[in-house]
């Protein structure tokens, strides 16, 4: 088989994989502060994408739509924290699992009712015409995905390392009680993490929609893969999710090329099953979840 075709598949898949990594990174943000994640994160991506599309349709230029979409995602993240997570955490229960799933389902119905069931194209000023680099076709659109992913993750990491609020975020992750003793409100830090996580999810939606189109069903496809990435990479390493994301994206694209596009979802599922078999504690790691 021609190696350049394989390489082409790997590279195109890798760009998709970066988006899975970005969504998985959103899981990491909330898990760090609260040991909880939003199981409706896929719907959050989808709703933010639809909202951004609406902004475009209202005539907003692309570059103004982006911050608008990100703000919307952050706001949804805060809603999830308030409605689905906070009470459960206060009662030290795992009710957030069910609650965030339910919120996701609500989001799904809302999207179907507001925007309909059809997949819609997502216009972008960035060209999808291929450039030839070392015999491989890469589109500016794909490059914009990579840039967007690294910009957002880089900005969040800079925030965590360089600002006092970011250090407080790390402190809450390391030891919530001790952080409270410094006057850092854990509740507000958790809110912040959900806001950031929602923003990151919105970015994922804005980046991927021009390639995949926008529709209510994008939620479940994306969440599954992001989940697989998070389970395999663990919930504490940003570098890990990027690596595993690229790996899964590449694997998917190879699979659909060799086995047919119907098998596209298989690698994510297999990876998830394998990861859960090898790490039965799954995303929650060893002791973290029950310790509280």
């Amino acid at each position: 088989m021609d190696t350049s075709i394989i390489l082409q598949m790997v590279v195109s898949g890798a760009f998709m994989g970066l988006v899975y990594a970005l969504i998985a990174y959103g899981f990491q943000l909330t898990f760090a502060t609260s040991k909880s994640i939003n199981f409706g994160q896929g719907e959050l991506v989808m709703l933010s994408a639809f909202f951004s599309l609406t902004l475009l349709n209202l005539g907003l230029p692309y570059w103004l739509m982006v911050p608008g979409g990100l703000l919307f995602g952050a706001a949804l993240g805060l809603v999830v924290e308030r409605a689905g997570v906070r009470l459960a955490l206060e009662q030290k229960s795992e009710g957030w699992i069910l609650l965030t799933i339910i919120l996701g389902l609500l989001g799904f119905s809302a999207a179907e009712n507001i925007w309909g069931r059809d997949d819609r194209p997502f216009p972008t000023p960035i060209s999808a015409d291929a450039l030839h680099v070392f015999g491989i076709n890469i589109t500016p659109l794909e490059i914009s995905v990579a840039i967007g992913v690294f910009l957002v993750m880089g900005a969040v990491e800079l925030f965590k390392r360089k600002t006092l609020m970011g250090k407080a975020f790390e402190a809450v992750s390391a030891d919530r009680d001790a952080a409270e003793l410094m006057g850092i409100s854990a509740t507000r830090t958790i809110m912040l993490s959900y806001g950031l996580s929602g923003m990151v999810a919105a970015m994922a939606g804005i980046l991927i929609s021009p390639i995949t189109t926008v529709g209510p069903t994008m939620a479940s496809a994306l969440i599954l893969k992001a989940f697989a990435v998070a389970v395999v990479a663990g919930l504490d390493s940003g570098f890990g999710v990027v690596l595993i994301g690229i790996f899964l994206g590449a694997l998917e694209s190879l699979t659909s090329f060799y086995l047919g596009s119907g098998w596209r979802e298989a690698p994510g599922l297999v990876l998830l099953i394998l990861a859960l078999a090898v790490r039965p504690n799954g995303v929650f790691g060893k002791s973290t979840m029950r310790k509280v």
Binding site: K162, T163, L164, M165, K167, A168, E170, A171, A174, D175, D177, A178, A179, E180, L181, M182, G183, I184, S185, A186
Partner: protein, 238 residues
């Protein structure tokens, strides 16, 4: 000044503190001693808001703080250096110290410069921390972590510091160092409530002391008075 009056607190349905009362006057060092499980740590937790007292009052410079969350009480000027030190392991020594001053510093940029004076003061008190300021706190030795925990509490410029078993798990030489540090804090006029297993050493630095038994203050007095008390002598200072 810290006044604790008739404090009740516990975990779930089990009541641990049953009406503890104590006072820490401005600029004094007060020792709280007692057997394992007497409720010393629980007292500190109930004062600092880590657990909510079910009854009683905690007054910080005349202001009632009982019932507030820990973050709020910290903002009102109470620093609690908890049992087991609880430094932020993955963060650097300096970041730990900066977070100690969280309430006084700008949340985003320029916080390092604003913290300069306090940071210098802590580094002078603990030169070892300066040497290791870039190192992850979790990789420090137990003694160094204790210094960091004390330094972090000082960074807040608190009205009162609660120090829970600073000597826990440390080699005898280091324990001596810890007590020397406490002496220096006292000379600097820091107001301190100290829980210690090393009752004798604690009484040497303290201005006043309380002996806790089964969630209550059983005996109180100046160190001289407690040293005369046969029961206290036999049980805690033997």
């Amino acid at each position: 000044m810290l006044i604790v009056d008739n404090l009740h607190a516990g975990y779930g349905n089990s009541e641990v503190l049953m009406g503890a009362s104590l006072q820490v006057k401005q600029g004094s060092v007060v020792a709280l001693i007692g057997a394992n499980g007497a409720g010393k740590t629980t007292t500190m937790r109930a004062i600092s808001g880590m657990i909510r007292p079910t009854r009683g009052a905690v007054m910080l410079d005349g202001q009632p703080v009982q019932g507030h969350g820990a973050a709020r009480i910290a903002r009102l000027g109470l620093a609690h250096s908890p049992e087991g030190r609880k430094v932020f392991g993955p963060l650097s020594v300096e970041d730990n110290l900066l977070l100690g001053a969280f309430n006084h510093l700008p949340r985003f940029f320029g916080f390092r410069a604003k913290a300069e004076i306090e940071l210098e003061r802590v580094y002078e008190l603990f030169p070892r921390l300066r040497e290791r300021k870039g190192q992850a706190a979790g990789t420090l030795s137990g003694g160094e972590q204790q210094m960091l925990a004390i330094g972090r509490a000082l960074m807040a410029k608190p009205k009162v510091i609660l120090l829970d078993e600073p000597s826990m798990g440390l080699a005898p030489v280091i324990v001596q160092e810890v007590f020397n540090t406490i002496r220096r804090l006292k000379e600097a006029g820091i107001t301190l409530l100290l829980v210690e297993q090393f009752a004798k050493s604690a009484l040497e630095v303290a201005d006043y002391a309380y002996v806790m038994e089964h969630g209550n203050i059983a005996v109180e007095g100046t160190p001289a008075e407690l040293n005369q008390n046969q029961r206290v002598l036999a049980a805690y200072l033997g």
